[in-house]
C-alpha cells in the first residue's frame, strides 16, 4: 500500500475524517469485491498525486458495519469526500475511474 493511503477504524472516524485540517477521501472497501481490488491501485496513484494536500483513507466495511450503516454506505467500493468536517460532492461507487477520483478531488480543492 502507498504510504499516502492509511487504513482507519470506525473509532478513528471523528479524529481522522471529521477533524482533519485538509480535505479527505474515504474508501469503504470489502473482500471478495473485484471493483474494490481494481480501485486500490488507482486510489493509491491519485493519493500520491495529491500528497500533503488531501488525506486518503480507507476503511474495511465488514469490520466497521455500524459506521457504514450510519453513513448509508451499502455498496463496495464507495468513496466519500469531506471538506471541513462535512461530506461534500457526490459519492463514487462501483467501477470507479482514476480520472473520476482526480476530477472530484480537484473540484473539492477549487
Amino acid at each position: 500500500m502507498s504510504e499516502n493511503v492509511r487504513e482507519i477504524q470506525a473509532a478513528q472516524y471523528e479524529a481522522e475524517v471529521l477533524a482533519a485540517p485538509e480535505p479527505v477521501v474515504l474508501d469503504f472497501f470489502s473482500t471478495e469485491c473485484p471493483p474494490c481490488e481494481a480501485l486500490a491501485p488507482k486510489f493509491e496513484a491519485v493519493a500520491d498525486q495529491f500528497k500533503g494536500r488531501v488525506r486518503f483513507l480507507k476503511i474495511f466495511r465488514q469490520g466497521n458495519r455500524d459506521l457504514a450503516a450510519k453513513l448509508a454506505v451499502t455498496s463496495s467500493p464507495t468513496l466519500l469526500f469531506y471538506k471541513g468536517g462535512k461530506e461534500v460532492g457526490s459519492r463514487l461507487t462501483g467501477d470507479i475511474k482514476r480520472s473520476e477520483i482526480k476530477q472530484t478531488v480537484e473540484a473539492m480543492l477549487a
Partner: protein
C-alpha cells in the same frame, strides 16, 4: 518513447484474455489493457455452471484468475487498472495513452470491452446507487444477512444472483416484468423451489424512495393496470407456480414495498465508448463485424459482448476472442 506491441487487446474479460492466449502463443508481442482487474463480468459472477471443463461448477472469480494466468504464462502482459486517456485507432499504426502518461503502440488491436450492467433509468436510481441499490451481488450480498431484499430482472443473471443472495438474506423477492423467467429452465426451477425466494410476476419498478438511504421500492402491477384501463374487474393477485400469492394493496396498481436493498440485473449495455466515431455502431450500440471479427477499419477487430450478435455467453466470448486473434495474426502477416 512509446512501447511497441504487435497486438493490443482492450478489455481483459474472457474474449480479450482468450485473444491474448492465442496472440502470445503465436509469439506476438501482446498487451491487454483493463480499467480494472482481469476477468470482466465473469469475476463478479458467483458461480459458473455452463463453462465446459468444470463439471462441479467454478467460482467466476476463480475462472477469471485462471484465464489471466494462462495468458500471462505465454508472455502476454496484462496492464491492470489503467485508463485509456487518448487513442488513435484509425491509423495503420494504432496508439494509446494510458493514464495521461504512458504511450503504447500496436500494429493490430482487438477491442473486447464487453458490457456493463444496464441501469433502470427510473427516479431515485442515481440518488440511491450505493445507498441501497447494488449491481454486484458478490460485492454486497454478505451485508444483507437476515434482511429482506428485492431483485429486479428475470434473466439468467437475475435468477442466479437471487439464488446466491439467499445465502444471506432472509427473503429475496424478484420483481419481473413478465409472467415467467427468461433464465435457463434449470436455474428457474431451482429459484422457484427455494423457500426464501418470492416472485412478483408482471411487475415493473417505477421509483426508488427514501431519505438518506433507500427505504422503499415503488412497483407497478402491469396486469392490474391493463385491466383497470379497460374497465374490467381487477386482475387476480400475482401467484407463482407453487401457488404463493401476493396480494396487491386495494384499489391501486402502484405499490410501495419496504426494502432493505435492491439488486438490479436487467441486462447489459455494450461498452463501446472507445469506438464511437471510429466504427459504425448498430442501434443497440454494438459493432458489426465480418465472421473473422474484422471491423471496417483495417487492423481493428472486436470480440465478445460488444459485437453485434445474438448470444452472449462466456463460451461465445471465448470463441470470438480466438477468431479475432487468429484473424489479427493473418492480418499482421499480410501487412508486413
Amino acid at each position: 518513447m512509446a512501447e511497441q506491441f504487435d497486438l493490443v487487446v482492450v478489455g481483459a474479460g474472457p474474449a480479450g484474455l482468450t485473444a491474448a492466449i492465442y496472440g502470445a502463443r503465436a509469439r506476438l508481442r501482446t498487451i491487454v489493457l483493463d480499467e480494472g482487474m482481469p476477468g470482466g463480468q465473469v469475476k463478479t459472477t458467483h458461480k459458473v455452471s455452463n463453462y465446459p471443463g468444470f463439471p462441479e461448477d467454478v467460482k467466476g472469480a476463480e475462472l477469471a484468475g485462471l484465464f489471466a494466468k494462462q495468458a500471462e504464462r505465454f508472455g502476454a502482459r496484462i496492464a491492470r487498472a489503467v485508463e485509456i486517456t487518448k487513442m488513435d485507432l484509425a491509423s495503420r499504426e494504432k496508439s494509446f495513452v494510458l493514464d495521461e502518461d504512458e504511450e503504447i503502440r500496436g500494429r493490430a488491436v482487438i477491442v473486447a470491452t464487453g458490457a456493463k450492467p444496464r441501469a433502470l433509468g427510473i427516479p431515485g436510481e442515481d440518488t440511491f446507487r450505493g445507498r441501497g441499490i447494488s449491481y454486484c451481488a458478490t460485492c454486497d450480498g454478505a451485508y444483507f444477512e437476515g434482511k429482506d431484499i428485492h431483485v429486479i430482472g428475470g434473466g439468467n443473471s437475475a435468477v442466479e444472483e437471487s439464488l446466491f443472495l439467499t445465502q444471506f438474506a432472509r427473503s429475496v423477492t424478484i420483481i419481473h416484468q413478465f409472467d415467467e423467467f427468461q433464465a435457463e429452465p434449470a436455474t428457474a426451477k431451482e429459484a422457484l423451489e427455494n423457500p426464501k425466494i418470492k416472485v412478483m410476476w408482471s411487475h415493473e419498478p417505477r421509483a426508488f424512495l427514501g431519505e438518506t438511504a433507500l427505504q422503499k421500492l415503488r412497483v407497478e402491477n402491469l396486469k392490474a393496470k391493463q385491466t383497470s384501463r379497460v374497465g374490467s374487474p381487477p386482475a387476480p393477485p400475482a401467484a407463482d407456480h407453487r401457488g404463493r400469492v401476493w396480494e396487491p394493496s386495494e384499489g391501486s396498481h402502484i405499490i410501495d414495498l419496504d426494502t432493505d436493498g435492491v439488486f438490479v440485473f436487467v441486462g447489459m449495455v455494450p461498452r463501446t465508448e472507445l469506438l464511437k466515431g471510429v466504427v459504425p455502431l448498430d442501434r443497440w450500440g454494438c459493432v458489426e463485424t465480418d465472421d473473422s471479427m474484422q471491423t471496417s477499419v483495417p487492423g481493428l477487430f472486436v470480440a465478445g459482448d460488444i459485437r453485434a450478435k445474438k448470444f452472449r455467453q462466456i463460451t461465445t466470448a471465448v470463441a470470438d476472442g480466438t477468431i479475432a486473434a487468429l484473424a489479427a495474426q493473418k492480418y499482421l502477416r499480410e501487412v508486413r
